[in-house]
Amino acid sequence: MSSISTPRPQDNFYHDEKYGFRPWLKSWLLTTDHKRIGILYMFAINFFFAIGGLLATGIRAELVTPAADMVNSEVYNRIFTSHGIIMIFFFLIPSIPATLGNFLIPLMIGAKDLAFPKLNLLSWYIFMLAGFFALYTLFTGGIDTGWTFYTPYSTTYANTGVIPMGIAIFIAGFSSILTGLNFIVTIHKMRAPGMTWFRMPLFVWSHYATSLIQVLGTPVLAMTVILLALERIFRIGIFDPQLGGDPVLFQHLFWFYSHPAVYIMLLPGMAIISELITCFSRKRIFGYKFVAFSSLAIAIFGFLVWGHHMFTSSQSVFAGMVFSLISFVVAVPSAIKVFNWTATMYKGRIYYEAPMLYALGFLGLFIIGGLTGLFLAATAMDVHLHDTYFVVAHFHYIMVGGTLMAYIGGLHFWWPKITGRMYSEIWGRISALVVFAGFNLAFFPQFILGQLGMPRRYSSYPEEFQIYHVLSSAGSSILAIGYALPVVYLLLSLKFGPKAPSNPWGATGLEWTTTSPPPTHNFDKTPVVTEEAYSYNPQDPGIFRAQGKW
């Protein structure tokens, strides 16, 4: 386990038969290898994360002072709208599934590739095309409708790039559908001998649930965008009340996708946490089946709670009550996961490696984000908190504190497998702590702001709110440093990092039985699975610590 295996170069999926720049470029752009496509996605998604992050910087810079002095309201509207759309549709939704999911699912179930490798590549190209339209929108004046595109503002009044951004989201949806479809079929049909459903890593279960939402939810958004575009282009009333249409219908259709989409973003994060907690606690997961089925329960109930976004928009009180109740119910499977993760750590042998620090950060932040979600699911409370910074803080605790923490933690965990190099452990731990501290400073004051009545989407505010905004902006600066650090030391590790053994963490799971990085066909011979996932032994440390000052 601690021995460093030195694979032959041709057993490495980075290896190309021919040398030179053009064959190299061609071998990447025409690849059907899920590992390479995962890396292509990683570049694209981190690029969009950087853009979304820059836009967030603009928001936080403007909000340092109460007056709208850096940009005017119109520009501010474009900044926060673009931030939301880029982060949600071009970072969070594809983030973990398209990168780590793509890379790891075939490895974890012992397959040579996803079921449809060409579709997988196609989904990347579709995503890039969508990204092109999104960038085009940004550079031709942006869009100011809020990421929710509410009608009639988006159809009748907005003078910004609703159509090109609508096209971008419509196209991006196809890439999301193709990824989800590929995963479902792969998990059903490509498992190695002995890899039964209940021997699969929970990473795979969670991605299965995610894929179900992607496949069943995204088409509804596609149709909603089509209707929105038709109304905007031809001025005919589907959602326009002046022409007999119903603007609330738009909200129903939009949230029918966009609420489950929250779980598209969150479930893959939970997928990673299940792997990290077990590995660095050296314990088998507590309640495997509960964690597995809670993923499916979240996916199913997630489809039934969209109305909690509309407690204040003319939905009937009865419907509000039902949606409120189901929203409380969906908290149960999430809580099951949290309890099971903590129970897994109990009496485990815990290692505070960088990925584990990210996982622990996830736990703390997700609990706050999840519990404040219950405040918002209570109809009476929501009337007070609707469209305030309380909502903003809540979903950032889930999306950034949850998904993003998990993504970065997962990236560290599988970095040796993906690149064949160890990153700097000490810097990894520092960055995890900086991100955790910066995040809390950036977003906890927003709970207070929202409770005090500060509405979201405003560039100016009363002076008594300034202290919280200054704290928040200071926190986001620290957060930015926390995100910049891994970029530096992860990239440096490619050149200076020690070579990674095939299983640096002493983790279970088929992906650790093959070399780092894996060969093109993943395994020398098809693995045969004989035991459950997470058969950890607390007596067995097995953590690889690179020697030297690195």
């Binding site: 041709q10 479809l181 079929v185 069943l216 509804v220 031809f234 022409l243 119903d246 219908l249 259709l253």
Partner: protein, 234 residues
Amino acid sequence: MAQHNPAVPTQHSPHLAHHFDTLEQQYDAANAGMWLFLATEIMLFGALFVAYAVYRFVYPETFFEASRHLAIPAESPWYLRSVFLGTINTTVLLVSSLTMALAVHAAQTGKRNRLVWLLLATMVLGTVFLGIKGLEYFLKYEEHLIPGPNFIFEQANRNQAQLFFLLYFIGTGLHAVHMVIGLGLLAYLVFQSRKGRFTPEWFTPVEMGGLYWHFVDVVWVFLFPLFYLIGLHE
């Protein structure tokens, strides 16, 4: 790229992709993928049907009148009434599903000529459907029933009726787009089957094309009564 792994037994079928172990596994994967794709299509059309259900629930009288007007426009001969053209089209489409199903069977039993002719027959029927659909659209255009500034409807509230026709055009239009895509797929299948690519061991594309074609038919089976027939009962 395609390094063959000596440890894995390779079957000698030219159709077996490198990452599958058996043709059966490969067929199962394609089949599951196709059904999932059709599920996404159901959700796509489903959103439209929800919009239809909401507006029909809110404006039942107007939808009744508008559907009646769509099916039996005043002052038009019986053979140009949409209810007649739509019924013909329904028949055409159902027969095309039959020819498609027979084509899959021909592929299964390895009858190449029959496969080509049945695929061509399906294409002809699909084209007839689109032709009649185009004629209907033209008649609606002449009757000023295209939503927009020139939309005229006097039997009931104009805006509400416009919603009905909007949904009609989006629904049938999206269906027609799917038909055109289906014709493209069929043309590809004809081309491939003339070259003799399909054998009783491997005819997955024909089967998948068949699933798609039947799905598009089923969508029409829902569109037809919802738009053409709800105004006909007294």
